[in-house]
């Protein structure tokens, strides 16, 4: 279907007018009119003509009415494969629809039939290609924006239109891509897969597969541990069996018994060998004895020669000893005599020394007594003077005791007295005073005392003055002027005086003076005493009592004052003593020599006598020679016997070595068995413990559990593998289906798109049935984020592609653009014009625009809107 002319009557700005647009060509028809010239009115009226029932009363129709209201009439002359027709509709008043064959002038259809005819002409199943192919003013994208119900409804309608078209071309999309069923299945696959595995297809922690794998790991570790224990147990059981066999093996016992018997036999042999060895030893001993006997005889022969020489030496010794005895005795007698003389001399010298010492002692005593007498006199004098000073001291201290008031105490008293005076002066100065001047004889009295005339009488307390003949006056001093200060001070003064024991101030001053003087006297007395008796009189008195009272100058009785001095006597005594010692030493030495000589003589005599006595029992030389011959023969015999025995001796070392070897083997065998028993005991314990633990059964149990767990984990792994295979296959199939589904529109769209974006690819959204992303080289952009111009251009190209699809369906529907391409720049708009021109070769395109200069480049037919007043449509 192609539109050739459009006529409107009483539509919007054409109130009461007829507007006509004729001369619409096959290809591009461009209607360039200024704003408010009614281009959009034509667009909307044409939409109503084709898609709104003439009986309807919709807002869209009412929007076509002019302010003056009234019926709206729209007509279009169209050309279809069957001819040229005029479609007319009157809306909102005297509603009517008519289709007239322009060639014959016959009405083809009216009312409902006319609507049906129109629907067929534009393709009833296309559900509004106008929305799909016609672009209203201001709609720069793929559909109306906004979220209102009408926009949503329009979007849905457009989507359905696209889907309808695509389905007509490539089949139902749900049928192609699987639709919601595919979505449901893929969601189920994803959910099942997600429950088991992570994105990287590893087992999900906490998922059934993850739990199964974890259990497998745990059980494997447990199985390995138990396996180790069971292997150890098995080894222990085998080892114990081996050990028991070994210990119970009768052959081992038999071997040990044979070895024991052999050891016994060797022991017997060894005993015999030892006996033989003993005999050899005895023979050796006999040989040694014979040799010893021979040696003894030889020794005795030699001894005999030595004894003869010895007898000679003994006789010589005896003689020498006798001579020494005689000589020593002579010398001893001489030295004894010299000692006696020296002893007498020493006794005399000692007596002389004693006398000299007695005389010297007596003289010393006399000197001591004289010194004592002198000291006594001195001490007596000191004590006498000291007694006088002590009397003065006592007197001074008595004075102090009676006059205790010190200068400081007196100062306090005097200070108090001064304060009293000062207080009284202050009191009097501030006190009320009375001065009486008498004119007569009468005299005023206070407390009976007459008041002196013209003399100020201070009043310190309430005072009653008697006025003879008049009465009395009581004067009261002002408050505050009291006697309190002086009273207190007076009381303190009285207290101080009382404490000092003085009646008044004068007495106090006298006492203080006496006190000072007494202190001076006391100090003087103490200084004198210290000078006289620094250590006190008691010490002097004790010294005095200790002094001797004997009279000196009395010579000692029996002493010779003219005798030698003690020093001389001591020298003589020392000399005598030294001589005595020398004499004693000589005497003792000579006595010792004499004793030694005597002893030597006696020994020599004894030895000689003894030798001579022994000589009688000694063997003769002949006997000794005979003995030596006999002993030599014995030695020869013994040597032979010993040699024979040595030659016949058995191999004791070899027997011992063999015995030792066997004993060692037996010992090793016994130790080996002991070790085996020990090991057996340990194994019993180990096996018992493991048996109590039931490790074999636990291992079997764990193996079974592991088998189950592994099978379970394998099932989950297989399930994951299955789900992944299924997911991949579904995704691949759906992707391919979508590609195939959109292939027709992409085939139409891409050449157009290439005019704007060379090499660009588009991805279609299966939900909106519209391009969703554009790929230019490596850059992929969402359509939504492109500029307004680019979006507008792609939207128009998409419409053109859909229009081409309609055309290929054999359903020619014009593309109508109302003020489109408002956002396109100069370069792009030219390219878009080229695209439109290319499409227009087999597609009618009607373009309304107010931009006459910009659209000059579009070319095409350019009819004008004709407006006539009140003319009918036809």
């Amino acid at each position: 279907m192609k539109i050739r002319a459009i006529t409107l009557r009483n539509v919007r700005r054409f109130a009461g007018q007829t507007a006509r647009l004729a001369g619409i060509a096959d290809g591009i028809t461009t209607i360039c009119e200024p704003n408010e010239s009614g281009k959009s009115t034509f667009f909307d009226a044409l939409h109503a003509l084709f898609f709104i029932d003439h009986k309807a009363n919709t807002a869209e129709l009412r929007a076509l009415q002019p302010y003056s209201k009234g019926a709206v009439e729209v007509a279009a002359e169209v050309e279809t494969e069957t001819g040229r027709f005029r479609i007319e509709k009157r809306f909102l008043g005297s509603k009517n629809a008519t289709v007239t064959d322009l060639d014959s002038g016959a009405i083809v259809a009216q009312e409902g039939e006319a609507e049906a005819w129109i629907s067929r002409a534009i393709g009833a199943d296309m559900a509004g290609p106008a929305g799909l192919l016609w672009v209203r003013q201001g709609m720069t994208g793929f559909g109306p924006d906004g979220s209102g119900p009408s926009e949503r409804k329009e979007r849905d309608r457009l989507r359905e239109a696209r889907q309808s078209l695509m389905s007509a071309v490539a089949g139902q999309i749900d049928g192609v891509t699987g639709g919601r069923r595919m979505d449901t299945i893929m969601k189920a696959v994803a959910a099942d897969l997600d429950a088991l595995a992570n994105k990287n297809l590893s087992a999900r922690t906490g998922g059934e597969w993850g739990k199964a794998k974890k259990l497998v790991e745990e059980l494997t570790a447990k199985r390995d541990q138990l396996d180790t224990q069971v292997n150890a147990l098995s080894r222990a059981l085998r080892r114990r069996s081996e050990l028991k066999r070994k210990l119970d093996d009768p052959r081992a016992a038999e071997t040990d018994a044979a070895r024991t018997a052999e050891v016994a036999r060797l022991e017997t042999e060894l005993a015999a060998a030892e006996q033989h060895e003993k005999r050899v030893s005895d023979a050796a001993r006999e040989l040694a004895l014979a040799r010893l006997t021979l040696k003894g005889v030889n020794d005795r022969i030699a001894e005999r020669s030595r004894q003869a020489a010895h007898r000679t030496r003994l006789a010589d010794d005896d003689r020498t000893a006798a001579a020494r005895v005689s000589e020593s005795e002579t010398r001893a007698a001489s030295s004894q005599e010299a000692f006696a003389i020296a002893e007498a001399h020493y006794t005399a010298a000692a007596e002389t020394l004693r006398q000299a010492r007695r005389a010297e002692a007596a003289a010393a005593r006399a000197r001591e007594l004289a010194a004592g007498a002198r000291r006594r006199t001195e001490i007596t004098g000191l004590l006498s003077r000291a007694d006088g000073v002590e009397a003065d001291l006592r007197a001074a201290r008595e004075t102090l005791r009676l006059n205790p008031l010190t200068a400081a105490g007196l100062d306090a008293i005097e200070a108090c007295a001064r304060q009293i005076g000062e207080a009284e002066a202050r009191r009097d100065a501030s006190a009320t005073t009375l001065i009486f001047s008498y004119s007569g004889a009468a005299r005023a009295t206070v407390a009976g005392v007459e008041i002196v005339p013209d003399l100020a009488l201070p009043i310190h307390v309430a005072t009653t003055v008697k006025l003879p003949g008049l009465g009395q006056v009581t004067v009261t001093p002002p408050a505050g002027a009291t006697m309190a200060d002086t009273g207190a001070l007076q009381l303190r003064l009285d207290g101080l005086l009382a404490k000092a024991g003085c009646a008044d101030l004068a007495a106090a001053r006298a006492m203080a003076r006496a006190n000072t003087e007494a202190k001076t006297a006391e100090t003087s007395a103490l200084a004198a005493l210290k000078a006289l008796v620094p250590d006190g009189t008691d010490e002097l008195r004790r010294e005095l009592e200790a002094l001797p009272l004997e009279i000196a100058d009395q010579p000692a009785k029996g002493l010779d004052p003219s005798g030698p001095s003690v020093a001389d006597a001591e020298a003589a005594e020392d000399d005598a003593n030294r001589r005595l010692q020398l004499a004693r030493e000589a005497r003792d030495r000579d006595a010792a020599t004499r004793l030694e000589a005597r002893t030597t003589r006696r020994l020599a005599e004894d030895a000689l006598a003894q030798f001579d006595r022994d000589a009688t029992s000694r063997t003769t030389v002949e006997d000794l020679d005979a003995q030596r011959s006999l002993a030599a023969t014995d030695v020869e015999k013994a040597q032979k016997v010993h040699a024979d025995l040595v030659a016949a001796a058995p191999a004791t070392d070899a027997i011992e070595a063999e015995r030792d070897r066997l004993v060692s083997v037996l010992q090793a065998s016994r130790e080996d068995r002991a070790r085996a028993r020990d090991e057996l005991s340990l194994l019993d314990g180990e096996i018992g413990a493991r048996a109590d633990d039931g490790v074999e059964q636990r291992l079997e149990l764990v193996r079974g559990e592991l088998e189950q767990a592994e099978a379970r984990a394998a099932r989950y792994a297989f399930e994951v593998e299955t789900l992944v295979a299924l997911r991949d296959e579904l995704e691949k199939a759906r992707s391919e289906a979508r590609d195939a589904y959109f292939e027709p529109v992409k085939r139409e769209l891409l050449p157009l798109l290439a005019m704007l974006h060379e090499g660009a690819e588009l991805e279609m959204d299966p939900d909106t049935m519209l391009p969703s992303r554009i790929r230019r080289g490596a850059v992929v952009d969402e359509i939504d984020v492109l500029s307004g111009g680019a979006t507008e251009q792609i939207a128009i190209l998409t419409r053109l592609a859909f229009a081409r699809l309609y055309a290929r369906q054999g359903r020619q529907v014009p593309v109508i653009l109302d003020d489109a391409l408002v956002h396109s720049d100069d370069d792009r708009i030219i390219r878009m014009f080229t695209a439109l021109t290319r499409i227009s070769r087999d597609q009618q395109i009607i373009v309304f625009s107010c931009r006459s200069r910009a659209f000059e480049e579009l070319g095409g037919h350019r009819p004008k809107i004709e407006v006539r007043e009140g003319s009918p449509l036809t």
Binding site: G179, I185, S241, G694, V695, Q697, E719, K732
Partner: protein, 375 residues
């Protein structure tokens, strides 16, 4: 005549760690209860002895309370003589176990700890072959061929080990000669180790564990009542059911068009016994996505009825049906594309098995999501 109960592999104290705590306790307790159950059966059948052919205990060193409680339980059944043989799990190497047992051994318990023949009862010689270690590396019954017993006495062999390579832990050298009973002129060879019931020969039997412990042995657990009438005569062997909990291994082969829920419910026991039943479902074959979803829902609905319900759907492949993909997305859109790609990946034989498994699971998951999304 000599009559006895033959059992083995009680595995007292087995922990069953791969199950939940409640079930573990029940499984362990069921084992312990077998002592009184065997005693009851012995009295009922007139048997004087119960022979336990090894692995009475699960470990060489069971926990003390397990051992003590077992001893008390054996002692409680004082009119029954119990013969315990060390097996590979409780071999003679478990010296601690047997020393402790010996120390507290009740009078009515015989511990066959020595290899050799002893008189078990008048006219009955027991030829016991205790396991010396977990893996002896030799046929422990070989000596029985040469073992001398009194003339006319019944020769009763008691051993633990495999007769072929079917044991859980055996090695070829440990294998007991299957014809040992004949070679050693035994009147009966009571074996343990194999947890399922197996009659090796008329005179050689495995009773299996009296209480099952795995899905390996499909049959009901039992003990054997054995009557030996005379030396050289064939024994009379009767199975006695002893199992308390059932272990059911379901191997279901699904085909497109199956109703998985119905098939599963049909294969499972009645509701009354489900609490005492442990189930391992191994599904294979192919199911459409819808059928697979139905199976998944059925499993979820039924699993909690049972003591345990293990599921292995790895070998269950998806059957490509347009209707399944239509359930996901019939308009040929992206969902359909994804589903188709997952399906292609699941069936891409150039991809490794794990990748195919993941794609298959993803497709099943997509189907479930699509159903849920459809509401």
């Amino acid at each position: 005549m000599f009559s006895f109960i033959h059992s083995s592999d009680l595995h007292l104290g087995k922990p069953f760690g791969r199950f939940g705590e409640d079930l573990r306790v029940r499984l362990r307790e069921a084992r312990h209860q077998k002592i009184s159950r065997l005693a009851t059966e012995a009295r009922r059948t007139g048997a004087s002895h119960v022979l336990l052919a090894g692995d009475t205990f699960d470990a060489e060193t069971p926990p003390p309370q397990i051992l003590r409680q077992a001893i008390r339980a054996f002692a409680e059944e004082k009119d029954i003589i119990w013969v315990l043989l060390p097996g590979n799990h409780d071999s003679l190497l478990a010296t601690e176990l047997w020393a402790r047992f010996e120390k507290e051994r009740p009078e009515n318990v015989v511990l066959a700890l020595q290899e050799g023949a002893t008189e078990l009862a008048p006219g009955v010689e027991l030829l016991a072959a205790p396991c010396p270690v977990r893996h002896a590396g030799r046929d422990l019954t070989e000596w029985m061929d040469r073992a001398e017993t009194r003339h006319g006495a019944l020769r009763l062999g008691l051993a633990h080990g495999p007769i072929q390579g079917f044991s859980e832990e055996d090695a070829p050298r440990d294998i007991i000669a299957p014809d040992r009973a004949e070679r050693a002129r035994l009147d009966y060879l009571a074996l343990g180790d194999w947890h399922g019931r197996l009659a090796v020969s008329p005179k050689c039997h495995y009773p299996g564990a009296p209480e099952a412990d795995s899905f390996k042995h499909g049959r009901t657990s039992c003990a054997l009542h054995v009557v030996l009438t005379a030396s050289g005569a064939a024994p009379n062997v009767t199975e006695i059911e002893t199992g308390e909990l059932s272990w059911i291994g379901l191997d279901l082969d699904f085909r497109p068009g199956d109703d998985p829920r119905k098939r599963l419910e049909a294969a499972l026991p009645a509701a009354a016994g489900r609490r005492d039943t442990l189930v391992r479902l191994a599904a294979r074959g192919r199911l459409s996505l819808a059928e697979r979803a139905s199976l998944d829902h059925a499993i979820v609905d039924l699993a909690d009825d049972f003591g345990s319900f293990e599921v292995d759907l790895d070998r269950l492949d998806l059957d490509h049906e347009t209707a399944d993909l239509d359930e996901i997305d019939m308009r040929g859109g992206a969902l359909r594309t994804a589903a188709a790609r997952l399906l292609a990946g699941a069936e891409d034989m150039d991809a490794d098995a794990e990748t195919r498994r993941v794609r298959k699971a993803a497709l099943a998951r997509l189907y479930s999501y699509a159903l849920a999304a459809r509401g």
